[in-house]
């Protein structure tokens, strides 16, 4: 079955690759072509997943190769939908790049298609949980980048209100996905461990990250201080996210965590 993957994967990889390049141009006709290519890539991959599902007679969710197909599919879909809604071309380009990376890994390393996931990861929640976090971290990382650009503008004496405005909207979107990640994790934990919240160090840090962004969203509603203050907050909030992401591997409290991915 994975033999015909090459054909479908090639269609997706080529069309997404061209679409990414076309995103750099602003002409309406070019935009329409790139839209069509993104959709073509999504349709081609969906076709393959449906065929694989029918062939295996079970949802293709059990091996690393299979989960990567879903990553590519959902990330490109989310990228496209949010692009249509918010017109963030950079985000679509990023989403397509991530989707491409997962496709290319599957394409180039066919021998790991059949590597089974460990029992605790074999769940319908695994893929959505990971995808919403990938999207969320991308948005929040992007907001941090805008925070740094804004701070540069502030210290150069340039008006940074517009950058701050975009960064704030992006935080809202990233926060939405962060919430989904946290809640999907809770629903999954109930299925896998018997409880939806166990104060596992990774969970605790994820909660802290979530909380810091809530604090920001409320602070910014009052809009009392100068942009500099908010830009610093945005930039520094991301460090909490980084601790939750991989910093916890080095924390003493996290040695018992089920989420620590090192040996």
């Amino acid at each position: 079955m994975w033999k015909i993957f090459e054909l479908y994967a090639l269609i997706s990889i080529v069309s997404w690759g061209i679409a990414m390049v076309l995103l750099a141009f602003r002409k309406p006709i070019v935009a329409r072509i790139s839209d069509a290519l993104v959709l073509l890539g999504i349709i081609s991959l969906s076709f393959f997943i449906v065929k694989l599902w029918m062939f295996l007679d079970r949802p293709p969710l059990r091996t690393l190769g299979e989960t990567r197909l879903w990553y590519s599919l959902f990330i490109s879909c989310i990228g496209y939908v949010l692009y249509k809604r918010w017109n963030y071309r950079l985000f679509l380009a990023y989403a397509l790049l991530m989707a491409l990376v997962f496709m290319i890994i599957n394409y180039a390393k066919p021998d790991i298609h059949d590597k089974a996931l460990m029992p605790a990861l074999q769940s319908v929640w695994f893929v959505p949980h990971v995808i919403v976090y990938i999207v969320s971290y991308a948005f929040l990382g992007f907001s941090c980048l805008l925070g740094i650009i804004g701070l540069y503008q502030v210290y150069k004496g340039i008006d940074s209100k517009q950058v701050l405005g975009i960064a704030e909207n992006i935080i809202y979107i990233g926060f939405g996905f962060l919430t989904l990640g946290l809640l999907f994790g809770a629903l999954w934990a109930k299925e896998a461990w018997g409880h939806y919240w166990t104060w596992d160090p990774k969970e605790t840090w994820a909660l802290l990250t979530w909380g810091v962004y809530i604090v920001y969203m409320h602070l910014s509603l009052q809009n009392r201080k100068s942009p500099r203050y908010y830009l610093w907050f945005i930039t520094l909030s991301f460090t909490v996210l980084l601790i939750a992401w991989f910093g916890i591997n080095y924390l003493p409290a996290a040695q018992m965590s089920v989420h620590v991915y090192s040996n």
């Binding site: 299925e191 802290l208 009392r224």
Partner: protein
């Protein structure tokens, strides 16, 4: 809004008060713990329901009073919300930094935060403020408020049900031998209780991953490392395994086999183990070695291949890929249900959720015992209501983002 000449506690209150109140609550909770030296009691039915009703009443009364009293009204303001949330996050931060212990003798607010007074006070204060905020924007009911309503009330419901329901969660373990029927379970204090249904274990099955292959230093017994990566490799029949000057080629792999005299034979009797016939070429010395290696099992010793420099190539204890129990449930009403319990695929019977958690690890894949965890959480449906409200709220935020409306609405409502 804020006048520079205002001193603390002088109205209108702002951020100074928003943080002073949590600090006072922190000191109060810590002081109370030092005086009593005890953890906070766990609230279970019916006390938790009573306390919850009191909390809801307090929120409603405060909401009613807030129309006339600016200080009470302040508790549903943004500064108060940020103060309450920061307090809760600060308490979570303790948990995030200090390794938590099951039963510490003292200093619960550090070593077992969730059983400390501090945790209850921080949660209680957050719920009070969040509750007041939610109620304040609940009326008049309008479409504009839907995102706000889903996120705030959803969070309030989730935290409330999770906190007040924690004491009502029943958790038991049950271990059943193949063929046996069991209705007794054990709680965390090793007390045995009887259920109103029984589980008969028809069959317990384990699928294993192929044994990993490792390089071990015979003198110390440690796995060798290269660039801080352990020299442990997964079965790779196509490319072979490379480590330093050694290249391993796998000639034969038996998922189940027994060692006899000097060879492994493919057999699947009790105690059979995984084995490999490997060829190791030493590219530095231009030598080739070949022999069987096999993982240890309940009846078989491990077999290594020994290289010069006291290095051994070993087959590691295989890891479980999937384990599942085929069971029959008998209820008191006389019905029987045949089903399968797997990791990530629990089943529900008479309000208990049954999870596959373990097996007899000494016996490995030959285990004849399956271990289940049974959980009953009567507050779970309420928690789920909150969680699904928040999921809807998150989708709302993703779609609408921070539109200019968000700001207008806030200004309208202040």
């Amino acid at each position: 809004m804020k006048s520079p000449s205002r001193t603390m506690w002088e109205q209108p209150w702002g951020y100074a008060e928003a943080f002073a109140i949590p600090v006072a609550l922190f000191l109060g909770a810590a002081g109370f713990e030092f005086v009593t030296g005890k953890a906070a009691p766990t609230l279970s039915f019916p006390t938790n329901v009573v306390v919850l009703l009191v909390l809801i009443n307090v929120i409603i009364i405060l909401h009613a009073a807030s129309a006339k009293n600016t200080i009470i009204r302040w508790f549903s303001s943004i500064p108060a919300s940020i103060g309450a949330l920061t307090f809760f996050l600060a308490v979570s931060l303790i948990m995030a930094l200090v390794p938590q212990q099951e039963h510490p003798h003292s200093l619960f607010l550090f070593y077992n935060v969730t059983s400390s007074w501090l945790y209850y006070v921080a949660t209680g204060y957050l719920l009070m403020v969040l509750g007041m905020v939610s109620v304040r924007r609940l009326f008049p009911v309008s479409k504009k408020n839907i995102g706000f309503f889903l996120n705030h009330l959803g969070l309030w419901i989730t935290i409330t049900a999770a906190t007040f329901g924690a004491g009502d969660i029943e958790k038991y373990t049950m271990s059943v031998r193949e063929g046996a029927t069991e209705w007794r379970v054990m709680n965390a204090n090793n007390t045995i209780q009887e259920l109103d249904f029984a589980i008969q274990l028809k069959d317990f099955e384990i699928e294993e991953y192929p044994s990993k292959i490792g390089f071990v230093d015979m003198r110390t017994g440690d796995v060798l490392e290269k660039n801080r990566k352990k020299a442990i490799f997964e079965l790779d029949t196509i490319h072979g395994i490379r480590f330093n000057e050694y290249v391993i080629t796998i000639k034969t792999y038996y998922p189940t086999s027994m060692f006899y005299v000097q060879d492994y034979f493919p057999l699947s009797d009790i105690g059979a183990t995984q084995s490999y016939y490997i060829e190791v070429s030493d590219t530095k010395r231009n030598k080739t070695y070949s022999d069987w290696i096999g993982a240890a099992s309940m009846s078989q010793q491990a077999k290594y291949l020994i290289l010069p420099d006291s290095i051994a190539i070993v087959a590691l204890q295989p890891e479980a890929k999937k384990f599942s129990s085929r069971i029959r449930l008998y209820t008191k009403e006389g019905s029987t249900i045949d089903t399968i319990v797997e990791v990530n695929q629990p089943i529900t019977c008479n309000s208990y959720t049954i999870y596959q958690t373990g097996y007899d690890e000494k016996m490995g894949r030959w285990s004849e015992t399956s271990i289940f965890e049974l959980v009953r959480d009567p507050w779970l449906p309420i928690v789920y209501v909150g969680i699904f409200m928040m999921i809807a709220g998150a989708l709302y935020i993703i779609w609408f983002g921070r539109t200019s409306k968000t700001k207008e609405q806030y200004v309208e409502n202040i």
